[in-house]
C-alpha cells in the first residue's frame, strides 16, 4: 500500500468515524463516537471543568493510538496533525485570555475534593502527578527521528523480494553469502530435516508495545520501540508447532529480514540480534542508529528499534498449545503414541502462543486505554514500581515486566463469569488501579492456585510451582516467563507495598516509587556464588538451556526444603544475555559465569542447630527425610520423650555459620559434588566487628544476660531492705548496658539505674534541700546494703558541684560475684523525686526570680526530664524491641561502633543512634522486614 492512499483513508475516517472492515478497526472505532460525544457535551455545558481541561489532548491522543493499531505510517501522520491541533488549542486559549486561569484553579479544587476518596491523600496525588509529568515521554522532535527510521524500515521490509523454498543447507549458505548467521534456537535443527524454509512478504508491519500506547517512560538506558512484523500464513504448515519447526522457520525469516536491511544501499543501520525477553526461542532484530548524522540517524532520540516477529492467528489449533499439551516429541517417535503420557511442555507452548497473540494483546491494551482514562497513568505507575524493584519481562529479570503489568491490569478489568465482579473497574483512578493490581498480586498466590480468566476446563501441568494466570480468550498464561522464586519475590514485594500504602501516618510516596529496592545487599542477608561450571553444566551443550532451568529449579526446591523457616526469601539470579552481531551465531553463557543465590534469613531461626524431622513411627515420612538428608539424619530422643528423625549441626567452628553448613551440604548432596569447592558464601560478614555479634544459634541479647541478672538481683536485695525510711516504688535501668545497646557487653562504666521512692510529705519543699536529703538517703541505703550483704560495696559519690539545685549525689554499688571468671558489676544509683519537676516548673513561671535563675531552672528541668523520665522510658522501650527483634541489639551496637570509629560519638547522642537503627527495623519500607545486622548498618549509612 502506498503512503498516499493511507493518508486519504485516514482523513476519511477522521471525518466520519466510519467503521472499517477489520476486527481491529471495528473495535477501535467503537470507542470513537463516545469520545466525541463527551467532547460535545463538555463543550456545551462547560460544567465539568476538570474533564474539559485535559480533554483537548486526550481525545486526540486516543485518536492517534487507534490508528497506530492499523499502521505505523498513519500514526506518524496523525502525530503531526496532533501537534498542529494542540498549537491551535494553545493559541485559542491565549486568545480566550481571562477564562483560562479561572478554569484552572477551579479544576484544581475539584481535584482536591475528588482526590480525598480516590487517592491516598492530596499530597500523594500531587506527588503522583508530578512524577508522571517527569517520567512521561514527550513525543517531540527527538522521537520523530526514530519514527522516521521506522517508516524507512517498513519501506525496506515491504520491498524485500520473496525467496524460493529451500532446504536447511541451502538456506544457511544463501544467508551466509549476505553475511548473516541464522539465529537458530538451541537445540539447532537436525541437518536432515525435510521441510523447506522460505521468505514471503510480511502480512503486516505494526508498531506495538508501550511507545504507541503512550506508556513509555524516559530512562537512562533509552527507549525500545517495538516494530512487529507479522509473517505471512503461506510459509507455515499446520504441523509446524511441533518440535521447534515454527521457531526454526521464524529464525530463518528473521535472518532474511536482517539480510535485507543490511543489503539496503541508501539506508544504513546498525543491526544486531537479541532474544526477546531473554528467551532463546525468540530471537529479534535490534536496530540502532548508525551515528553518522545522515537522514536515517536517530541517535538523538535515544531510541532502539526492536523488530519482533509475530504469527498470524488461525494456523495452529489452539488446543494443541494449551499449557498441558506436549509439543516436543521424544526423538525417533514422530507419530503421537498413546502408550505413555507425554510430559507437557508449558514453556514452549506458551512461547509459541505468545507469538500468535501479539496483535490480540495490542487490541486488548488499546481498548482498555480507550475505555479507562486512567489506564495509561496506572501503567506508568506500575512501570516505575517494577523498575525500582528490578523486575522486567526478561527471563533472568523475573519475567514480570511492563507488558505483563499492563496485560494483568487490562485482564483484571474484564468480567470473569462465576468469579464475582472484576477486581478493577474502568472508573477507577490511576492510583486505585495501581493499588488494586498490587492487592491482586498480594492476595493471590498464583503458584499455589492457578487463576484462569474466562476459561473453563483448562488443565494445568502439576509439575513445578510456576505461577499461572491463564487468559482464556487469548489462550496464554501471561506469567509463563516467571520462575517460582521470581514470583515469590513479586508476591512479597506486592504485599509490602500494599502494607505500605495502608500506612495512614505517612504518605510513603518515596518508598513506593522513588527508592530503589533491587539492591541485593539490602534485600538479602547471605549470598552464595556458584560458577555455572560447578553445577555440572556445559553451556556449549545442545540442551543447556533446559538443563540450566531444571538445575535452578532443583536448587530452589532443595534449599527451600532444607532451610525451612530459617529463610524468608530465596532468589536465584544470573547475568542477562546481551545482543550479538548478526554475522555470528548466538553466544552461549560462560562456564565461569556465576549463579547468585541470595538468601534472606529470619534471624530468630537462621542459626538453629537442630532440625526436627518426622517421628520414627511415621515410616513413610521418616524414610523420605532420611533420603533427603542422607547420613546427616539421625534418630534422637528428645527431652519431652519424643523420638524424632533429626539433623544436628555443629557450631564448633565459629567462622562457619550453620546456614553455610546446611546450604553447602545439601547442594553438594543433591545437585553436584563440585559445589563445595567452588562456592563462595557470604553471610553476616561484619559480625566479628563487635563482641558476640554473631547470632549463632542464640538470640542477640544473650551477651547481656549476666548484667541483667545482676541488676535483677540488686533490685531484689534493695527491696528486701526493711529498715529503709521509705519503701521503694521502683528501680529502673537508665543505661545502654541495661537495654542491650552498649558496644561492648563487657562493663567499662557503671550502669546507671534510677530509684524512685514512695511518696512522702516529709520531703522538704525546696530543690537544694531535696538534693541534700537525697544524700542522707543514699548514705542510709549504702549503710544498710553493705550491712545486709557482704557482696555489695556501696559508696556515695558527688556530681554537679556548681549547681546545688540539680542532682548532687549518686550511689555507686559494686556487686562482687566472687565467682571465678564472672566479672563484678557496678551500678550507679540515683534517686528520682518527682516533686523536683513541679518545683522547677514553678520557678520557670515565677516572675519574682531574675532572668538568670529562670534560665537555669529551665536547663535543670530539661536535664531532669531527660535523666529521670525520658531515658527510663527509652530504656524500657528499647529493651522490649531488642527482645522482639533478634538482630536489633547487634545492629545498634555495630552502628555505634561505626560512629565510634569515625570519631562521631561525641557529637551524636547514643539514644539518637539507637532510634535511627530502630527506625529501619520498624519502618523498613520499601524493604522487607527481617534483616541481619550488617544490612541494617548499610541501610543506615545510606540514610545518614
Amino acid at each position: 500500500m502506498a503512503p498516499a492512499t493511507k493518508r486519504r483513508k485516514l482523513k476519511h475516517e477522521d471525518e466520519s468515524s466510519e467503521p472499517d472492515g477489520s476486527a481491529a478497526d471495528n473495535h477501535v472505532d467503537g470507542a470513537f463516537p463516545s469520545d466525541n460525544d463527551e467532547r460535545d457535551v463538555n463543550d456545551g455545558s462547560m460544567d465539568d471543568l476538570e474533564l474539559v481541561s485535559d480533554n483537548g489532548s486526550s481525545t486526540e491522543a486516543s485518536l492517534e493510538e487507534d490508528d497506530e493499531d492499523e499502521d505505523i505510517e498513519e500514526e506518524e501522520e496523525v502525530a503531526i496533525e496532533t501537534v498542529t491541533k494542540q498549537q491551535r488549542v494553545a493559541t485559542n486559549a491565549q486568545d480566550g485570555g481571562k477564562a483560562k486561569p479561572h478554569r484552572h484553579s477551579d479544576a484544581q479544587l475539584q481535584d482536591g475534593t475528588y482526590t480525598a476518596e480516590t487517592f491516598k491523600s492530596n499530597v500523594f496525588k500531587l506527588q503522583v502527578d508530578e512524577l508522571l509529568d517527569q517520567v512521561k515521554l514527550k513525543y517531540s522532535k527527538k522521537e520523530a527521528s526514530a519514527e522516521n527510521a521506522m517508516r524507512t524500515l517498513k519501506i525496506i521490509i515491504e520491498q524485500l523480494p520473496s525467496r524460493e523454498p529451500q532446504l536447511l543447507a541451502g538456506a544457511e549458505t544463501s544467508l551466509k553469502a549476505s553475511g548473516v548467521a541464522i539465529p537458530f534456537p538451541s537445540p539447532p535443527p537436525p541437518t536432515d530435516v525435510k521441510y523447506k524454509f522460505r521468505y514471503e512478504r510480511p502480512a503486516s508491519i505494526n508498531a506495538t508495545g508501550s511507545y504507541p500506547l503512550k506508556t513509555a517512560t524516559r530512562s537512562e538506558e533509552g527507549i525500545g520501540i517495538d516494530l512487529v512484523v507479522t509473517m505471512p500464513k503461506a510459509i507455515f504448515q499446520e504441523k509446524d508447532y511441533l518440535n521447534y519447526r515454527y521457531f526454526y522457520k521464524r529464525a530463518f525469516y528473521l535472518a532474511c529480514l536482517a539480510a535485507g536491511i543490511k543489503k539496503s544501499k541508501e539506508h544504513k543501520f546498525k543491526l544486531s540480534f537479541d532474544c526477546l525477553n531473554g528467551n532463546q526461542l525468540q530471537p529479534i532484530l535490534v536496530v540502532r542508529p548508525n551515528g553518522n548524522g545522515d537522514g536515517d540517524d536517530f541517535s538523538n532520540s535515544k531510541c532502539r528499534i526492536d523488530i519482533l516477529l509475530a504469527m498470524p492467528e488461525g494456523i495452529f489449533p489452539d488446543a494443541k498449545l494449551l499449557p498441558k499439551a506436549n509439543c516436543i516429541r521424544p526423538k525417533g517417535d514422530d507419530i503421537e503414541s498413546d502408550n505413555k503420557p507425554l510430559t507437557s511442555t508449558p514453556f514452549y507452548n506458551s512461547t509459541l502462543r505468545s507469538e500468535v497473540t501479539v496483535t490480540p494483546y495490542l487490541k486488548l491494551l488499546h481498548s482498555s486505554a480507550a475505555n479507562c482514562d486512567a489506564f495509561q497513568d496506572a501503567c506508568i505507575l506500575g512501570r516505575i514500581w517494577l523498575k525500582q524493584r528490578g523486575f522486567g519481562s526478561g527471563l533472568r529479570k523475573g519475567g514480570f515486566g511492563n507488558f505483563e503489568w499492563a496485560a494483568l491490569m487490562a485482564l483484571l478489568m474484564q468480567p470473569n463469569p462465576g468469579a464475582g465482579a472484576p477486581p478493577l473497574s474502568s472508573g477507577y483512578s490511576s492510583y486505585q488501579l495501581f493499588k488494586g493490581t498490587l492487592q491482586f498480586l498480594a492476595r493471590h498466590d498464583l503458584s499455589k492456585k492457578a487463576f484462569s480468566l474466562q476459561a473453563r476446563d483448562v488443565a494445568f501441568p502439576k509439575s513445578g510451582l510456576a505461577p499461572i494466570f491463564f487468559d482464556g480468550p487469548r489462550g496464554l498464561n501471561i506469567l509463563f516467563k516467571m520462575t517460582t522464586w521470581s514470583y515469590a519475590q513479586l508476591h512479597l514485594e506486592a504485599k509490602i507495598s500494599v502494607d505500605t500504602l495502608g500506612d495512614v501516618l505517612f504518605d510513603q510516596f518515596d518508598s513506593i516509587f522513588i527508592l530503589r529496592t533491587d539492591l541485593k545487599r539490602y534485600r538479602y542477608d547471605a549470598t552464595l556464588e556458584l560458577p555455572i561450571g560447578a553445577l555440572g553444566l556445559d553451556p556449549t551443550q545442545k540442551s543447556y538451556e533446559d538443563q540450566l532451568a531444571g538445575t535452578c529449579q532443583k536448587i530452589y526446591t532443595t534449599l527451600i526444603r532444607a532451610l525451612t523457616d530459617r529463610v524468608t526469601a530465596l532468589d536465584l539470579s544470573l547475568r542477562a544475555h546481551s545482543t550479538w552481531s548478526v554475522t555470528t551465531s548466538r553466544p552461549s553463557d560462560d562456564a565461569r559465569d556465576r549463579l547468585l543465590i541470595n538468601i534472606a534469613t529470619d534471624p530468630a531461626n537462621a542459626n538453629r542447630t537442630v532440625d526436627h524431622g518426622p517421628s520414627a513411627e511415621n515410616k513413610q515420612e521418616a524414610a523420605s527425610f532420611r533420603k533427603f538428608w542422607g547420613d546427616k539424619s539421625e534418630l534422637r530422643r528428645f527431652r519431652d520423650g519424643s523420638i524424632l528423625e533429626s539433623v544436628v549441626w555443629s557450631t564448633k567452628d565459629a567462622s562457619v555459620s550453620v546456614l553455610e553448613h546446611i546450604v553447602l551440604y545439601i547442594l553438594a548432596k543433591h545437585v553436584n559434588d563440585g559445589i563445595r569447592e567452588n562456592a563462595h558464601f557470604t553471610y553476616d560478614s561484619f559480625a566479628g566487628v563487635i563482641s558476640s555479634g554473631r547470632l549463632q544459634g542464640q538470640s542477640g541479647v544473650t551477651a547481656f544476660a549476666p548484667i541483667m541478672a545482676a541488676f535483677t538481683q540488686l533490685e531484689k536485695d534493695i527491696r528486701e531492705l526493711e529498715e529503709l525510711p521509705l519503701s521503694v516504688r521502683h528501680i529502673r535501668g537508665a543505661d545502654a548496658q541495661l537495654r542491650y545497646t552498649s558496644v561492648d557487653a563487657q562493663q567499662s562504666t557503671p550502669a546507671s539505674i534510677v530509684l524512685q521512692l514512695e511518696a512522702s510529705a516529709r520531703w522538704p519543699d525546696d530543690l537544694c534541700a531535696i538534693q541534700r536529703t537525697k544524700i542522707a538517703f543514699l548514705l542510709k541505703l549504702s549503710e544498710l546494703l553493705s550491712a545486709s550483704h557482704k557482696t555489695y560495696k556501696a559508696q556515695v559519690g558527688l556530681e554537679n558541684p556548681s549547681q546545688p539545685s540539680q542532682n548532687q549525689a549518686f550511689l555507686d554499688i559494686t556487686l562482687k560475684t566472687g565467682k571465678h571468671g564472672v566479672p563484678d558489676y557496678a551500678f550507679r544509683l540515683r534517686i528520682h523525686h518527682d516533686r523536683e519537676a513541679t518545683l522547677l516548673e514553678r520557678q520557670l513561671k515565677d516572675k519574682t526570680l531574675d532572668a538568670q535563675s529562670r534560665e537555669s531552672a529551665a536547663l535543670a528541668l530539661a536535664l531532669y526530664s531527660r535523666d529521670f523520665l525520658r531515658v527510663l522510658s527509652h530504656t524500657q522501650t528499647v529493651q522490649n524491641l531488642c527482645t522482639r527483634h533478634t538482630a536489633l541489639s547487634p545492629a545498634i551496637r555495630l552502628t555505634k561502633r561505626w560512629f565510634d570509629s569515625h570519631l562521631l560519638s561525641p557529637h551524636v547522642a547514643p539514644e539518637l543512634i539507637e532510634l535511627l537503627v530502630i527506625r529501619t527495623f520498624l519502618q523498613p519500607h520499601p524493604l522487607a522486614r527481617t534483616f541481619m545486622c550488617h544490612d541494617r548498618l548499610l541501610t543506615d549509612a545510606g540514610l545518614d
Binding site: Q127, L131, R772, A776, S782, P801, S805, D846, A857
Partner: protein, 334 residues
C-alpha cells in the same frame, strides 16, 4: 595559645586593639616533644573598662586568654615577682571548671522592701561585687553553704576554660598603672616572662578527682546535717520576707502572687481553673446537639466543610511545592 612554629612566633604582634600582648614562657614538662620545649602562651592585657563601672574598676586590669591553670595565687605572684611588684587585691575569673556555685536569686526590686534584714552570712561563694545589691544575699532556694555545710570538693582545684578572661583588682590605682606600664615595657623589650603553673593538671588532676568523687560518709553526713539545719532557719526567714510581699499591693494595686503561702495553693488554683474550662466546654457541647435544626445551619456546615477541604488542599499543595523546592525535581533513585 601556644604556637609550635617559631616563624609565626617571631612575627607575633605586640598589641591588638587596646590589648598589649604579653608572651609567657610555659614551663616544660617531661615527655613533651622537643618542639614544645619553649612554647609560649599569649596573655592579653588592658585597663578594665566595663559598661557599668564600680568602685574597683579604676584600679583593675582586664586579662584575656588566661592560662587554664591560672589562679589568684599565681597571678598575684606573676605581678609581684615579674611585673614590677604591683600588689593585687583580688582576681575574678569568668569561666572556671568546675564553675562557681550558682544560686537562684530574686529580682533585686522585689526584695528591696525587705530592708536591714541582710543575711548574716557573708556571701563567700560568689564574688560578684558589681552586682551585689541589697537583696543579693538572699537566695531563692536553699541556703548558701558555708564551711560547715558545703559539700566536699570533687576537683582538687579549679581550672579555667581555655581562652577565658579575668579581672585583676589592684590595691590602688597607682599600682594598677604601674603594672600596666611594666607589661607594656616588657612587651616592647621582648623580655622573657616565665609562667609558673598552678596545681596538678593532666592525669594527676583526674586521679585526684577519682579519689575525691567518693568522700567519706561521715563527712557527707555531717555536712548534710549542717545544711539542713541552716536551711530550716533560712527558710523561715525567707518566708517572713515573702509573706510581707504577699500582703502588700504594688503601685498598680495588685498583690504579688508568691509561693510559699500554703504548699499547693497555686497548683490547686490551676486545677480549679482547668476544671471550669472543661465544664464550659461540656456546656457548649450539650448546646451543640441543636445543630442542624435550621437549614441555614446545615448550609453553613457544608460551606465550612468545603472551605476546610479547600484549605487542606491548598495546604497540601503548598507542602508539595515546598518539597519540590527543597529537593528539586522528583527523581527516581537509580
Amino acid at each position: 595559645m601556644t604556637s609550635p612554629l617559631p616563624k609565626i612566633r617571631k612575627s607575633a604582634p605586640t598589641s591588638v586593639a587596646e590589648f598589649s600582648i604579653l608572651p609567657l614562657t610555659l614551663p616544660t614538662y617531661p615527655g613533651l616533644p622537643s618542639s614544645c620545649t619553649d612554647a609560649k602562651h599569649y596573655l592579653y592585657v588592658k585597663a578594665h573598662a566595663p559598661a557599668i563601672c564600680t568602685e574597683s574598676t579604676a584600679r583593675s586590669l582586664f586579662l584575656a586568654n588566661v592560662p587554664i591553670d591560672a589562679s589568684e595565687a599565681n597571678l598575684r605572684a606573676l605581678f609581684a615577682e615579674q611585673l614590677g611588684g604591683a600588689r593585687v587585691e583580688s582576681v575574678e575569673f569568668d569561666a572556671s571548671v568546675p564553675a562557681e556555685v550558682s544560686h537562684k536569686h530574686f529580682k533585686v526590686k522585689e526584695v528591696e522592701e525587705k530592708d536591714g534584714k541582710k543575711d548574716a552570712r557573708p556571701d563567700r561563694g560568689t564574688k560578684r561585687k558589681r552586682e551585689e545589691g541589697k537583696g543579693r544575699a538572699m537566695v531563692a532556694e536553699g541556703v548558701i553553704a558555708d564551711g560547715e555545710s558545703a559539700l566536699p570538693r570533687i576537683w582538687s582545684s579549679a581550672a579555667r576554660k581555655s581562652g577565658s578572661g579575668a579581672v585583676v583588682v589592684f590595691l590602688d590605682k597607682a599600682s594598677m598603672r604601674g603594672a600596666l606600664k611594666e607589661v607594656q615595657k616588657v612587651v616592647k623589650d621582648h623580655a622573657a616572662i616565665h609562667w609558673k603553673g598552678g596545681e596538678a593538671l593532666g592525669v594527676e588532676r583526674y586521679r585526684s578527682h577519682l579519689s575525691l568523687l567518693h568522700p567519706p560518709p561521715t563527712l557527707l553526713s555531717s555536712t548534710t546535717n549542717a545544711y539542713l539545719t541552716q536551711f530550716d532557719a533560712a527558710a523561715s526567714q525567707r518566708n517572713r520576707a515573702l509573706a510581707h510581699l504577699r500582703s502588700v499591693p504594688d503601685e498598680d494595686g495588685f498583690v504579688t502572687v508568691t509561693r510559699g503561702g500554703g504548699r499547693s495553693a497555686p497548683a490547686a488554683r490551676l486545677e480549679i481553673a482547668q476544671q471550669k474550662q472543661s465544664e464550659l466546654e461540656d456546656r457548649k457541647r450539650k448546646k451543640g446537639s441543636l445543630d442542624g435544626f435550621y437549614r441555614f445551619q446545615n448550609r453553613e456546615k457544608r460551606k465550612e466543610e468545603e472551605g476546610r477541604l479547600r484549605k487542606q488542599f491548598e495546604k497540601d499543595r503548598r507542602r508539595v511545592q515546598e518539597m519540590r523546592e527543597r529537593r528539586g525535581k522528583l527523581r527516581l533513585e537509580s
